[in-house]
Amino acid sequence: MEPLAPIRKRRRPSLTPMIDVVFLLLVFFMLASRFGADQVMPLPLPLGGGGGAAYSGPPRLVEIAADGVRLNGRTVAPGALSAALAPLMTAPDDTIVLRGGEGATLQDLVSVADGLRAAGYTTLVVVE
């Protein structure tokens, strides 16, 4: 009779390859993913099909230039814009027209829009 083979101790499978793969996945998801939602500012379009009410009331044209802000052609101090607009508004969601003049960047436009939004005016339309 053949001698029985000695009982082998079962070796546990190595964990190292699994850890390698898991680390790889971890690094992939850390690098490839984008966290948090984008921050946006709604911008109604002037002649959008059916979007927003038609313009009504006195002219509310805010021109943004490199040297300052003009409301209906008259220069207004940046902090006084929403106060100067108040008598021209019948409701807070009345359309205000923003126009970027010579030398104004998008950041200038957004800063002015921020000020108007802070004052509660929500419908800001950007025109050429």
Binding site: M18, L26, Q39, M41, P42, P46, G51, T105, L106
Partner: protein
């Protein structure tokens, strides 16, 4: 003379707790993240303190050169692709560079209005 028996080596640290933590991180990243295609151009959106979060939408890129880009297309082709898209995909997000002249942004907005869009969302960064 008695010689102290050789000390036994301390047992090796178990790797299992580390694997637990790594799995936890992995599941966290899987759950909280969304895989985003890389941006076609480098865009630094304007800073604003009145942004609202939006979780999905079609991003139209407008870099400092003023050319609209979408899904590997640029110029008129990108705008045509935007016009043909399904409105159920969420709002159109305009990712425009903060240093762009406002007139160029306004021109692009007029082109988007001509495509029949009623509203776009301007991408901003929290201040």
């Amino acid at each position: 003379m008695q010689i102290a028996p050789p000390r036994r080596r301390p047992p090796r640290e178990s790797v299992v707790p580390m694997i637990n933590v790594v799995f936890l991180l992995l599941v966290f990243f899987l759950m909280t993240s969304q895989i985003a295609p890389p941006d076609p151009v480098e865009v630094a959106p304007p800073l604003s303190d009145r942004g609202t979060p939006v979780d999905r939408g079609t991003r139209l890129f407008l870099a400092a050169d003023g050319v609209p880009r979408l899904d590997g297309l640029s110029g008129e082709a990108a705008l045509a692709l935007l016009a043909a898209r399904d409105p159920a995909e969420g709002p159109v997000i305009l990712a425009a560079d903060a240093t762009l002249p406002a007139a160029i942004v306004a021109r692009t907005l007029r082109r988007l209005a001509e495509l029949g869009l009623a509203q776009v969302e301007l991408s901003v960064l929290p201040r």
